[in-house]
Amino acid sequence: MKLNWKKCIASTLLVFLATGLAACTADANESASTGAKGNQTPVEISYATFMVGSHVSAEAEKQIIDEFNEAYEGKIKVVIEELPSDEAYVNKMKALAASKALPDVAIGKQGIRELAIKNGQAVDLMPLLEADPEWKEYIGAGAISYNQADDGKLYSIANAKQLIGYFYNKDMFETAGIQPAKTWDEFMANNEKLKAAGFTPLAMMTGENAWTTNLWLAAMIGTDGEAGHSFMNTTHPESYENASMIQALSMIQTCLQEYTTSDAVGAMYANAANNFLQEKTALIANGPWMVPDFSDTSKAKAGLADRVGVALYPNDGIVAQYEVGYILCSNGKSEEEQAAALEFLKFKTGKRAQEIFLDKSGALPLTANVEISETYKTANPLVAELITISGDAKYGFENIDNTAFSSVVSEFSLNYPDLAYGEITPEEMAAKLTAAVAKSK
């Protein structure tokens, strides 16, 4: 008998097709019947985060999500998209914003909130806060007014207050015979003394968002009289060509050339943190969320926590700000999904989340309603000291990440290498930053 291959192949394909269709129909029927049984399937909401892997807040983030999923088991399920870095997160969210596909809850940093408002996904949170006095109490007036627009609308809510000074290695300071500097001249002189004593003074990095370097820069500007202070509290400044900025860039240029590690130019945050944690440098500008790392022997040298001190920036300055925080992007979704997303946002910014973030990553709560206990202060003396010394600060200001457009932040990391190698002057760099402002308009 002659085998008819065409018929054989056609029959086989038909069988596969029919099986597939049957499976699809079965799935659909199953979902329909589940729905009819009375919503046994939990409402799924989406959430994206960069606090994963080795991120300092990864543990706190995981605990919050786990506790939420446990508390709302069978009702709401958070589907998480993990992005491995701040930059990857921001870029992915911007791409999603272009197609109105932002997750139900997201962090609105570096222009993401503005895009969510523009594309119509962002929800005005003010009426929702008014409807829940308990939630509003834990957020507090300071954080609300920080993110509130002129028209009274509120599109994002922070879950922590940021106080950022710098950490220093007490042993290295003692060997070099110095104290935390009171002025910027003293700061540069201290760097020289540390260098003479055989230490590398500063843990800096210019890759990613140039975080540690830009904290020093913000401090140099923010403590430079009223003009500098006002500039560092201006959101989205139009021009970076001012005396405070140029003077600060000039000091940063010297620091990058003389007082930091050989890998600082182009390095990531992890490199700078590692240099401080392994006692290769004497100072790092960073927030209290770094404190748990000092006693983590998988990251830091044993006993480092006892050798670290915290200080205000010279001229008594401190980065004191609220974050942009979380946005609710459930506009246009079903009522069920909107309600579920709101529940998650409340949990993520509420009392319990603030407690977890304080405990696990040293992030300070938004208000005194979340008490920092004496036990906590005893167990975390650096955080307690930071809170105490922040009361002595003459200048409080924001950091570059908060005030600048994302195009400007990325311009910093592109141009710091040229500044460090003397290819451009501080004036030229300031002009490039001003030019980058136009790109974000």
């Binding site: 914003a97 590690t261 050989s262 182009g266 195009s407 592109l414 290819e423």
Partner: protein, 289 residues
């Protein structure tokens, strides 16, 4: 005959549909929106040629990214191909090391670009990188060089992450060489040709089409190169290692200017076509041997 045509149409339908709905419509949208002001959340408005004129008259960073892309295309089409072909000719001699070298040389081609970027970041790290440590041992004094971020070495360092690794070219050329009949080599030998003369005047001319194809692949790969640059320099210092894909990415995702980014996309496609046509002309690939 009519029945046969019907089957041909049916089998062509999926491919043609995918081409129309995935590629052609996308390209049409890309070209259309390149003439528009388009940022996220704002209305798309007609902008004429303003995106193109901005790129060519007011954006030195874009011009630099075009120049860098052009230089890298030229380097790939010459040095990269020369390395690959030379190695293929050497390996064809079937020496004891042939199999090892062929495998080792192909390894960079099977590693993902992102992983390769991380690898080079480590090898060229100024503090603990292999290169600086070897130099320190050789010189007997500390050798510190920030290969990727020093403006003097950044372009060279980025180029070295892809230029020498011509394993794909070698494999393609060797596969084509395997199809040359033994009689051709015997005839050349009888005529008194040396091994080098045989390679230069007999083998290479017969490899013209495959070398042309490999050149197209190598050159056009520079129009897609994004991941390694993103992992190593991000286009910096300044815009010294910025290429067109990286600049397009920044324009779209950092600046959110999709109209301007799409104009760059159109120019990128045009540059790709120009590269393709030029290489085909140089290798006379549209002519019969």
């Amino acid at each position: 005959m009519r029945k046969k045509n019907k089957w041909i149409s049916i089998f062509l339908l999926p491919g043609v549909s995918i081409f129309i709905f995935v590629f052609m419509l996308s390209i049409l949208m890309l070209v259309g929106t390149s003439f528009a002001n388009w940022t996220i959340g704002s209305k798309i408005t007609f902008a004429g040629f303003s995106n193109y004129s901005t790129l060519f008259t007011e954006d030195p960073a874009f011009i630099k990214s075009m120049m860098n892309t052009g230089i890298w295309i030229a380097l790939q089409a010459t040095i990269h191909i020369a390395i690959g072909v030379l190695l293929a000719l050497l390996l064809a001699k079937q020496k004891w090391y042939t199999s090892f070298v062929r495998t080792a040389f192909f390894i960079p081609n099977i590693i993902s670009s992102a992983a390769l970027g991380m690898l080079f970041l480590s090898i060229l790290n100024p503090q603990f990188g292999l290169v600086n440590n070897v130099m320190t041992k050789l010189l007997g004094e500390p050798f510190v060089q920030n290969w990727f971020m020093d403006p003097k070495t950044s372009f060279f360092s980025v180029t070295m992450t892809w230029l020498p690794y011509a394993g794909l070219v070698t494999i393609l050329v060797m596969a084509e060489m395997a199809s040359i009949p033994k009689e051709v080599y015997e005839a050349a030998s009888i005529d008194g040709a040396t091994s080098m003369q045989t390679d230069l005047f007999v083998v290479l001319p017969m490899m013209k089409n495959i070398i042309g194809t490999a050149t197209i692949l190598a050159a056009t790969s520079m129009l897609q190169k994004l991941d390694i640059i993103m992992m190593t320099t991000g286009g910096g210092p300044g815009v010294r290692t910025m290429n067109m894909p990286m600049y397009l990415y920044r324009t779209a995702l950092t600046d959110n200017n999709y109209g301007l980014a799409n104009a760059q996309g159109v120019i990128l496609i045009f540059l790709g076509l120009l590269t393709l046509i030029t290489i085909r002309k140089i290798f006379k690939m549209d002519q019969e041997d």
